[in-house]
Symmetry: C2
Subunit: 337 residues, 2 copies
Amino acid sequence: MTAAIAIHDPTLRDGNHAVSHSLSLEDIAAYCRAVDGCGLSVVEVGHGNGLGASSLQLGLARHADTEMLETARANLSRTRLGIHMIPGFARLDDIDTALRIGVEVLRIASHCTEASVTESYIEHARANGAYVHGVLMMCHMASPERLLEEATKQQGYGANAIVLMDSAGHLDPDSTRERIALLSSELSIPLGFHGHNNLGLAIANSLAAVQAGATIVDGCMRGFGAGAGNTQLETLCAVLERYRFATGVDIFALCRAIEQLESIAPVSTPTVVKTANLISGLYGVCSGFEKHVARAASEFGVEPRRIYEALAQCNAVAGQEDLIISVASRLSQPSVA
Amino acid sequence: MTAAIAIHDPTLRDGNHAVSHSLSLEDIAAYCRAVDGCGLSVVEVGHGNGLGASSLQLGLARHADTEMLETARANLSRTRLGIHMIPGFARLDDIDTALRIGVEVLRIASHCTEASVTESYIEHARANGAYVHGVLMMCHMASPERLLEEATKQQGYGANAIVLMDSAGHLDPDSTRERIALLSSELSIPLGFHGHNNLGLAIANSLAAVQAGATIVDGCMRGFGAGAGNTQLETLCAVLERYRFATGVDIFALCRAIEQLESIAPVSTPTVVKTANLISGLYGVCSGFEKHVARAASEFGVEPRRIYEALAQCNAVAGQEDLIISVASRLSQPSVA
């Protein structure tokens, strides 16, 4: 079996969660310069929650979206520039701004059962000539059949590809495979998979996704990403190559790039599966909640495990970071104990 | 499917590689006390290369074997105490010392094609009433059929179980499965698997091993171990439980133990898959070589990648750390460049 697999790298976007959205323009420039010749398909840049998401609720980014994108743009020539956006945080006219800066791949994302919120965004982007990934986040929360329904909607809006995100790191190789296999057999556009490592399965899930038909896979350098981190980029490429999938990535060039980048945040910040990440993955809570939960746990004197459990009980989805405070506050009341 | 899986924890032995064999008696005591009630089958303690291995060549341990074992012994009551030994580093009478201290599980290890060196050790240990795991290290370097031959020898010497070690972190789920499946169908004693995470596949390989019939699996807290680290203990237990294998481990109790241990080396030392670890895994070089290769690379001004490549070319096996210096020295000569 051989298929061409596009490696999509959200190190500078999902990884921004790991440093509370504090990536510097210098880090962004250095990263883009170092990886540009390695054969990656896309480098994605921005606030952890994507375009327009810098806010008190989700966390303020160190730099404006436009500054981050322009910096990346100036330092990429072979790898395409991508962004992530969630309608509501991102506005429709943010698409125009992104395209003007030269963004080449737009990911337009919703919770996995709410594809309809992406309709006008995908249509607007496509009407303006953009290449668009329709993204379904927290994809463990819907059955394969339900995901197919939602992905079919995004395909109908004009998406060029569909990406399933295991935003909570809750899937295993079997549950990944069944989701990708169904969509792969029913959709006419390429499929992608974005994993998190809460259960230590990000590489295995990504391999299962590719074996089931995905041709776009996400990986972050050293796993730098929200919560337990994402699928580790360099090991992902090596394992796909072992399984005879052609990624176009030069693994030894990528390794040399990593060695050059030892001092910048994506490489120097160790990505570890901590107990909070494991528990969050078991409960199926969005990886991007980690730092918010840790802060709320400390502020309200509540065990993180209880916050994750309560968030799971109310089916919290990515973007509902405001719930964390109210859940922690409720749990801190003596009557609830 | 449900089977009882024994979780074997070499954090305080394989992890000793990660800190150049410097684990303190205080760390050992704290670790044993914290995990004793969590349902682990065995905690293994000692120098990274096992009993008797403290030496200039392999690295001097901070404490004598007897001190480490006595400390662990005094702090374990429910989880059994285990050791690893490689004949040659360990002497036959080390077995008597270990048994006198109260070690309950003896692992007697050889390179995967050299089981015969374990014969007198396994026989001596069994004659003295010990429970013995016959261990085949670097098990990617032999075919399933050859491993079966060697494991059959160890079974014949009296081993109570056979453990395959992916010492280089080179296996993938398929190559793990075929090895364990063949041995499981042909041997009459239990089988174990010990993984390393160089390719990010330690959890997936361990799951594949259990699905193929292994009933003993190794995991280290936070992955603390040689090179890229071992299979992460707490995620391993969670994933096995997800797949309905009964480990007897209380995952939340284990998480609380980890939180208590934040300040000790196995938890506070981040285990990261660095480029050297990835390359070492791709070439199939023993994980325990990492720190020696790094030192030699720096001393002789040679890229670590070239040292790993040369070690692979001469089929270096665990215990041949002396080769690293000569390889690095040779590579540093202008005539070889």
